[in-house]
């Protein structure tokens, strides 16, 4: 059997396993898988920006939360049907990204990180303080997934299949964008903005478009999050969640999209196991993150990449690390 056919069979088997999941997996693990899927989407929006564009954004969670809030407020406070509320939620999140992008893409490296952190915290502040709109600390509750064409997405089984489809589709589209001329230009902007500028590429526009695309992906994740939890409160978009996204993405490796899924899966499972043993799971996660930064800054997928190269007796080199992204910060 050729290795190509083997890969094909493996993918087929994995697809069959994923699609049939609701019929054989205990419901506890099914809901865990749903969480993994929509958080993977959120992590992908981070990974796409950090890995392909060299933009480490701490504002993704704010976009995610805005989309979730808009959906919850429209659906529960104003009785807007899902068919209008969902598009409006996606549009609001993406618009927020479009506004933040104007400020953020003017900066690079560590400044970008700082500014997105501050921008993200604004949204948290608004969610927390604007009690008459957002419900303040308690947030907005009572949101339920709709029934569409006779399919009740309230049931975990059908909700799971929807999230799965959305995640796979979004991942595939991002993958296509990464491998398109636009994606290559984005890589060029990441590695050498001045050279790309000299070649006539609209550097800021490319970064801006990537930021908006990532915003849309985060908004999609926000919609699923809101429907899944049924409650949206400020903790949906606080800095701990930003850090969490950072941790899962870097642990998985920002060099490839699948790293986002791997990182999310590991951390969600780790959290589930560790939180049964000790309430100090944030400490454990922080330690895992520290060790990743110190010993494997290219993440799990990067390590895997390096291992495979070594087995093929190629020049040993790790995958891209977070610090290979964006040269300008070294010139500052």
């Amino acid at each position: 059997m050729t290795s190509r056919a083997l890969v094909f069979l493996l993918v087929l088997a994995a697809a069959a396993a994923l699609i049939s999941l609701p019929w054989w997996m205990p419901s506890f693990y099914l809901t865990l898988t749903i969480r993994i899927l929509f958080f993977s989407l959120l992590a992908m929006s981070f990974t796409f920006l950090a890995g392909q564009g060299g933009m480490v954004s701490l504002a993704q969670v704010a976009v995610f939360g805005t989309s979730a809030y808009v959906l919850a407020i429209l659906s529960t406070q104003h009785g807007v049907a899902w068919s209008a509320a969902v598009p409006l939620a996606l549009a609001s999140g993406t618009t927020l990204a479009a506004v933040f992008g104007v400020f953020a893409v003017r900066t690079l490296g560590i400044y970008f990180l700082m500014i997105t952190l501050a921008l993200g915290q604004i949204v948290w502040g608004v969610a927390f303080q604007w009690v008459s709109m957002t419900g303040g600390f308690d947030g907005i509750g009572g949101l339920r997934a709709p029934t569409v064409l006779g399919v009740a997405f309230r049931s975990p089984e059908s909700f799971y299949l929807l999230v799965l489809a959305a995640t796979v589709l979004t991942g595939w589209l991002l993958h296509r964008i990464i491998n398109s001329p636009f994606g290559l230009a984005l890589n060029g902007v990441r590695d050498s903005p001045t050279r790309m500028q000299a070649l006539g590429y609209p550097v800021s526009l490319i970064r801006y478009l990537a930021f908006v695309v990532a915003g849309l992906v985060a908004s999609i994740a926000g919609v699923f999050f809101a429907y899944f939890t049924g409650v949206v409160n400020p903790s949906a978009l606080d800095l701990f969640r930003s850090v969490w996204v950072l941790v899962v993405s870097i642990l998985g490796g920002v060099g490839s999209l699948i790293g986002a899924v791997i990182g999310t899966t590991i951390v969600v499972l780790l959290q589930t196991v560790v939180s049964q043993i000790t309430p100090r799971y944030m400490t454990i996660i922080g330690l895992v993150f520290l060790l990743t930064i110190l010993f494997a800054p290219d993440g799990i997928t990067g390590r895997f990449h390096a291992l495979r190269k070594r087995l093929k007796r190629e020049r040993p080199s790790g995958g891209p690390t977070i610090d290979d992204r964006g040269p300008v910060e070294r010139e500052v």
Partner: protein
């Protein structure tokens, strides 16, 4: 009324300046934005509160909070930062990891409810000023921030250490090539920066409260301050702190639901017209 709002704004600005000056000082020399600065504040505050409860001496609590965090800064700089030296983003991300751990450990030690120090009466005389009575401690905070600002300026402008730091800021390689141990300088400056975060925590724990989440709130405000003022600039931090503190105070009085949001307005304006900040050097 307006006088009280202005005085509240000034005292908050004082606290923010003490935070932001440490952050901007370390950034100027080391090009590291210490995202654990908020966690340093949190720990400084909790340690100060514990020391105050044990001894009843506020100045001792202030010193203990500062010294403990300076030690923490020493450990972080020598062990963690040393490891990833030169990788700017890794340095910042590592700080986030450390901040997460510190926040969680603080939660396990001091719990989740807000704690604060009851200001000793001798530090908090009722002072009548311009026809209003105002708590003296808040005036003391303003005074302390001015003293710290002047002290830092004197240190940088008038001492040999300050000259070395300025040389390091301007040209790290040449300074090192001239036989200056730049890493010792890094450690000293980072400890000073951590010390400032520590005492800011004790001060914040006295006229505000310290609770989980305070770390990132104050870090965000300090970041806003140095984004407005320009990274690495001490006068920038002072002006940024004044603007932010006053907006916070007026916002809280007139539009309480959006006071936090309003703080970001000057930041957005600055970013739009002068991305390097008021006193910052051009970058990117």
């Amino acid at each position: 009324m307006t006088t009280i709002i202005i005085l509240n704004g000034l005292s908050h600005a004082g606290l923010l300046f003490i935070m932001a000056s440490g952050l901007t000082l370390a950034f100027g020399l080391m090009r590291v934005v210490n995202l654990a600065h908020g966690a340093f504040y949190l720990w400084g505050g909790y340690i100060g509160i514990s020391v105050f409860r044990a001894t009843g001496n506020w100045w001792l609590a202030l010193l203990a909070g500062g010294a403990a965090i300076a030690l923490l800064g020493f450990i972080k700089e020598r062990i963690l930062l040393h490891w990833v030296r030169g990788k700017v983003l890794s340095e910042s991300l590592m700080a986030i990891g450390l901040a997460t751990i510190l926040a969680d450990l603080a939660l396990s030690i001091w719990g989740g409810s807000p704690l604060s120090i009851r200001v000793p009466a001798d530090l908090n005389p009722r002072i009548t000023l311009l026809g209003i009575t105002y708590p003296g401690f808040r005036l003391l905070v303003i005074l302390m921030s001015v003293v710290i600002g002047l002290g830092l300026w004197l240190l940088l402008a008038k001492t040999k250490l300050g000259a070395l730091i300025r040389a390091g800021v301007d040209d790290r390689e040449t300074t090192a090539a001239l036989g200056i141990n730049i890493y010792v300088l890094f450690t000293l400056v980072f400890m000073l920066s951590a010390f400032l975060a520590g005492i800011a925590g004790v001060i914040g724990g006295t006229f505000l409260t310290i609770q989980p989440g305070a770390d990132f709130q104050v870090l965000t405000l300090a970041l806003v301050v140095i984004i407005i003022g320009g990274m690495g600039s001490l006068p920038g931090a002072a002006i940024g702190a004044l603007v932010t503190g006053l907006i916070l105070s007026f916002g809280r009085a007139y539009v309480p639901e959006l006071s936090f949001f309003l703080t970001f307005a000057p930041m957005a304006i600055i970013l739009a017209i002068r991305p390097q900040g008021l006193f910052g050097r051009a970058f990117g």
